[in-house]
C-alpha cells in the first residue's frame, strides 16, 4: 500500500495528541434496545429464516387441513385432506407409473426451453446491443407478447395434431417472446462504460460482443431464464390438455373428469415441487458459472 511518512518533524502547536485511555473495562456495557419482530429491512439469521419458512409452510398446510375438516362431510371429497392427497400421490407413483408422466413433462419443458433459450438469448443480446437490430424486430415481437400462448392451441392442433410437437411448440411460444424482451433489457442495462472501455482499448465489435457484452449480461440473462422456466411450468397443464395422453397435465385432466380432486391436487403438488427443484438447479448453475458474481454474505 501507499505509505505516508512525515517529511519534516516539527512542532505543530495547534495540534495536541489525545492521551490514550487507561482501560476500556470501566466504561458501562452498552445494552441495545430490544429487537422487535417488525424491523425495517432487517434480515433474519439463516437459522431464524429456516424456522420462519417452516412456520409459514405449516400454517399453509394447517389452513388446508382445517378447511378439510370444516367442510361438510358430503362435500369433503372436493377438498381432500393432506393424507388423502399423499396417498393419491403414492398410488399414482406405485400403481399408475406416474414417474413416466413426470419424466415426459420434464422432457417437454426441457426441450422447449432449450429451443427457446437457444434462439431467444442470442436474438435478445443482439437486440440489446445494436439499436438497428432492435428496431428491426422489437415492434413485431411486442405484438407477439400480447397474444396469449393458449390462443395458438387450435392452430397448433391443425398443424401438428395431438402430438408431442404441438405441446412443445406451445411451451416454446409461451416462453420465447418474453425471454427475448427480458434478455434485451438485461443486455442494454450493462454499464455503458464497459463497452466504451473496450472501444478505447481498440477491441473490435465482435471482441466487444463476445468478450464484454455477453459476460457482462450473462448473470442477469440466467436470472431471466430462471424466471421464464417458471412460466414454462405454468403453461404445462394447458399444453398437455391438447390431446392428453401422457404427462402430469394429462393425468390431472383425466382425474378432473372423474372428480378425483385428490389426484388433481397431487399433480399440483408435483408441479410445485418440480418448479422448486428447477429453481434450485438454476441457482446452482449460476453459482458455478459466475463465481465472480456471488452474493457477498454478511
Amino acid at each position: 500500500m501507499l505509505e505516508s511518512t512525515i517529511v519534516k518533524s516539527r512542532v505543530i502547536p495547534s495540534i495536541s495528541l489525545a492521551a490514550a485511555s487507561a482501560s476500556m473495562d470501566d466504561a458501562p456495557l452498552y445494552i441495545p434496545p430490544k429487537e422487535r419482530f417488525l424491523e425495517f429491512r432487517r434480515q433474519p439469521s439463516a437459522r431464524r429464516a429456516g424456522l420462519l419458512a417452516l412456520i409459514g409452510a405449516l400454517a399453509f398446510f394447517g389452513v388446508w387441513e382445517l378447511g378439510h375438516y370444516l367442510t361438510p362431510v358430503s362435500a369433503r371429497k372436493f377438498l381432500p385432506s393432506i393424507q388423502e392427497v399423499g396417498s393419491a400421490l403414492y398410488v399414482l407413483f406405485v400403481e399408475r407409473n406416474f414417474a413416466h408422466d413426470v419424466y415426459i413433462s420434464c422432457w417437454r419443458i426441457f426441450i422447449s426451453f432449450v429451443a427457446a433459450a437457444g434462439i431467444g438469448v442470442p436474438i435478445g443480446i443482439l437486440m440489446g446491443s445494436f439499436g438497428n437490430i432492435r428496431a428491426l424486430f422489437n415492434p413485431t415481437l411486442t405484438a407477439w407478447r400480447y397474444l396469449p400462448a393458449a390462443s395458438f392451441i387450435p392452430l397448433l392442433l391443425v398443424w401438428f395434431g395431438p402430438t408431442d410437437q404441438a405441446k412443445i411448440a406451445l411451451l416454446f411460444m409461451g416462453v420465447i417472446f418474453f425471454l427475448i424482451s427480458l434478455v434485451l433489457d438485461n443486455t442494454s442495462a450493462i454499464q455503458k462504460e464497459f463497452v466504451e472501455a473496450g472501444l478505447t482499448m481498440g477491441a473490435s465489435r465482435f471482441q466487444i460482443l463476445r468478450g464484454i457484452v455477453v459476460p457482462a449480461a450473462l448473470p442477469a440473462v440466467f436470472d431471466s431464464m430462471r424466471n421464464m422456466i417458471a412460466v414454462s411450468w405454468t403453461y404445462l397443464v394447458i399444453a398437455e390438455i391438447v390431446g392428453a395422453q401422457d404427462g402430469i397435465g394429462a393425468v390431472m385432466m383425466r382425474a378432473g373428469r372423474f372428480l378425483s380432486v385428490d389426484v388433481i391436487m397431487a399433480g399440483i403438488l408435483t408441479i410445485g415441487a418440480l418448479g422448486v427443484a428447477t429453481d434450485l438447479v438454476f441457482r446452482g448453475i449460476c453459482l458455478m458459472l459466475f463465481p465472480w458474481n456471488a452474493e457477498r454474505r454478511s
Partner: protein
C-alpha cells in the same frame, strides 16, 4: 528530496494532440457544448481540464477518445486525423470499468490480448503492472472483493499496460473518498513520471488540478470555450509528489485563489 523532474522533450515535430477549432453542437446547432476550441498538448505533460459542470470538458475528452465526434473542426494525434477510438489513447473512466468477470490479472491482460500480445508476455507484463499499482497480492481476486480505489488501480494498470501515447482520465478519482483519492493522486504522479505519458485529466477539483497538472486549461460553460490556458510555472518545471511541499511554494495560494475566482464567475 522527494521531487521528480518533468520531462519536456519534444521528440517528433507533430504534437501528441492538436485540436483545431473543435465545435460540438446539439439539437441542430441550438446548443453548443463546445465552441471553437483549439489547443495543442505537449509531450509528457499533464494537462488538467478544469471548469464548472456542463462546461464541455467531458465532451472534449470523449471527442479526443473518439467516443464522440465534433460537429466542426479537426483533431490530430501526432499529425494523424482521429477517426474513432484507438489504443493510442487510453482512457480511465470515472465509473469503475475493471471487468467483474475477470480477475485483477486477467483484467490487466485483457487490453494486451486485444493488441495481440503473446500469452506468456501478457502474463509477465500484467504482473509487473499490478506490482506498480500495489495489487500483486490481489492478482487472483475478482473486482467484487476489491475496494473502489483498488478497482480503479486495476483499470489504470490495464490501460497503462497497453502503453498508450496519451492517457485520458475522466474524473478518475471522483467516486473515491478523500483519503483514497489523495493516495491515488500520489500514485498517479509516480506512474506518469515512470511511464512518461502525455496526460489529459478532467477534474472540477481545483486542488487536484494544481497538484496533478503541469498546465491547466480552464473551460467556461455555455458555450464551452477555453477561458484560460495556465502553465503552472510556480512549480518550476518540477512535479511534487508530496502535497505539503507544494503548499509551501510561493505562488500556490495566489493560483488557487485565482482559480476559485474564475470558478465562481462561471457558476454565477
Amino acid at each position: 528530496m522527494n521531487v521528480v523532474v518533468t520531462g519536456l522533450s519534444q521528440t517528433s515535430s507533430a504534437p501528441p494532440l492538436k485540436s483545431s477549432r473543435i465545435s460540438k453542437e446539439y439539437l441542430g446547432g441550438t446548443f453548443k457544448a463546445l465552441d471553437d476550441v483549439s489547443f495543442e498538448l505537449h509531450e509528457n505533460q499533464i494537462t488538467a481540464f478544469l471548469g464548472p459542470s456542463g462546461c464541455g470538458k467531458t465532451t472534449m475528452l470523449r471527442i479526443i477518445a473518439g467516443l464522440e465526434y465534433p460537429t466542426r473542426g479537426r483533431l490530430q494525434v501526432f499529425g494523424k486525423n482521429v477517426d474513432g477510438p484507438g489504443p493510442d489513447r487510453g482512457m480511465i473512466f470515472q465509473a469503475y470499468t475493471s471487468f467483474p468477470w475477470l480477475t485483477a490479472l486477467q483484467n490487466v491482460e485483457y487490453g494486451m490480448k486485444i493488441l495481440g500480445v503473446s500469452a506468456q508476455e501478457r502474463r509477465e507484463r500484467a504482473m509487473s503492472f499490478l506490482k506498480l499499482v500495489h495489487l500483486e497480492k490481489f492478482s487472483n481476486s475478482y473486482p467484487r472483493s476489491l475496494s473502489g480505489g483498488m478497482k480503479q488501480r486495476v483499470a489504470l494498470a490495464r490501460t497503462l499496460a497497453q502503453n498508450p501515447a496519451i492517457l485520458l482520465m475522466d474524473e478518475p478519482f471522483g467516486a473515491l473518498d478523500a483519503q483514497v483519492r489523495w493516495e491515488m493522486q500520489e500514485l498517479m504522479i509516480e506512474l506518469i513520471e515512470r511511464e512518461k505519458k502525455t496526460v489529459v485529466a478532467i477534474t472540477h477539483d481545483i486542488e487536484e488540478a494544481i497538484y496533478l497538472a503541469d498546465r491547466i486549461i480552464f473551460f467556461s460553460r455555455q458555450p464551452g470555450r477555453i477561458k484560460a490556458d495556465i502553465p503552472l510555472t510556480f512549480k518550476g518545471g518540477r512535479r511534487y509528489k508530496r502535497k505539503e511541499e507544494l503548499l509551501e511554494l510561493p505562488g500556490y495560494a495566489e493560483l488557487e485563489r485565482d482559480l476559485f475566482a474564475m470558478m465562481r464567475e462561471e457558476i454565477r
